[in-house]
Symmetry: C2
Subunit: 250 residues, 2 copies
């Protein structure tokens, strides 16, 4: 019988860590993360399920390994001479490419990725770009958190809308059609006056808003509501800008 037992000849091992992770990524990219079971992965490798455990301690380790494999593809063009806005754009684009290449892995990219050295390098680029604004460290960290949170939120939306191929706003528009227009007047008005050719995968528009805000505050804007026509005068803002978690309504 073709039943194989015992340790294989040298160099004839059936499995290596690299192959396991590559195959796992293939399954995830092709059929989603829920299709990636240890048994399925083993079948794909033509091997007993338990064989994998000689190379990786458990399923979580496989997923972490796959995530690090993907993050290792992250390559940033270190253009130290460019304006900081372009550097942030470059950071965002690199992350965007990763997410669009592996949308089914998005959740793990966001959660597991934090521990990856490749991500540290990427953050070095982001922080260096933001440091060139001249803002104090505290503001830089806040701005970086803002950029990262936005990109993660956008990435998650991409990952979730993989099936429906709709952006968040697009899904809202569809849902809206089930109700009479007067029920949600603003939404109805705005979406009826909107062109058809929006592309939800874009990240530029959001970043444009975001970088404008960072630039404003870096220039000396106080982040309050003061610099808006018809807004509050400087000093009478009642939105806490440096508060310590006071979010109550009262």
């Amino acid at each position: 019988m073709g039943r194989k037992l015992g340790r294989p000849r040298a160099g004839k091992e059936l499995l290596i860590r690299e192959q396991i992770l590559a195959t796992a990524l293939q399954i995830i990219d092709g059929e989603g993360i829920q299709a990636m079971s240890m048994r399925r992965l083993a079948a794909e490798l033509g091997v007993d399920p338990m064989a994998i455990y000689h190379h990786l301690p458990n399923k979580e380790a496989v997923l972490v390994g796959v995530t690090e494999l993907v993050f290792s593809e992250l390559r940033l063009p270190a253009q130290a001479e460019a304006p900081w806005q372009q550097q942030v754009y470059a950071f965002a684009r690199a992350y965007r490419e990763l997410v669009l290449a592996h949308p089914n892995l998005v959740l793990h990219l966001i959660s597991v990725g934090t521990g990856s050295p490749a991500l540290l390098a990427a953050n070095e680029v982001l922080y260096a770009a933001l440091a060139r604004t001249g803002m104090p460290p505290r503001r830089i960290v806040q701005a970086a958190d803002l950029v990262v949170d936005y990109l993660n939120g956008w990435a998650l939306a991409v990952g979730l809308s993989q099936n429906s191929k709709l952006g968040a706003a697009q899904g809202l528009a569809t849902l809206l059609q089930q109700y009479p227009p007067e029920h949600y007047p603003t939404l109805s008005r705005i979406f009826s006056n909107l062109g058809e050719d929006e592309h939800p995968g874009s990240i530029e528009e959001g970043l444009a808003f975001l970088l404008a805000g960072i630039a404003w505050i870096a220039q000396g804007g106080d982040g309050s509501l003061a610099h808006q026509q018809g807004g509050l005068a400087r000093g009478e803002s009642n939105v806490p800008t440096g508060g310590r978690g006071d979010m109550s309504f009262g």
Copy 2:
């Protein structure tokens, strides 16, 4: 034996949809979403696992029901007179309260929530606030997407860091200590010049940047890199602002 069979007396039903969802939420809040199995839920209700299926078609329906239950708690103060920035803040705060009250449900709040009528009402508030900036519909949708994506990214970070109680930047700082400072010079410099008392749960600072950017563009800023000292002069920006998905590096 205490073995119960058959249809119960009128009014003596052991289960109602409402109780099932409330108990499921209790499990999720207390022990995380992975603890919420149908068997566990049934045990908590003192009932056979299959009994649940007479009230909800499957586990996914339970989770959707729980999500809608939580979203139904979302109540926005409709202060139509306030400046639009404060209205956006109010929207963000309401969402924040929801997330902090049920961090273990974050992923479902983001993904399943889209179909909930309560979320439509919340979006009506957000869009109405942004419409008061005077921006054209296309910009309003972009700004709303930005706000929603940021809040979702922030919420996901809260959900993921529930165990470690660390913010994204805080986790970065910890990871950074494993390497010599000269390896990631900018990160090292910034984090060493940073106070200890950062509170990662805050959303105000990010929103301050974000609203500043929206206000700038609403005032007539073009969203390019032009309005930054030392940046590009107006018109020579090579960052696409109205592009159609052209994200290539070349």
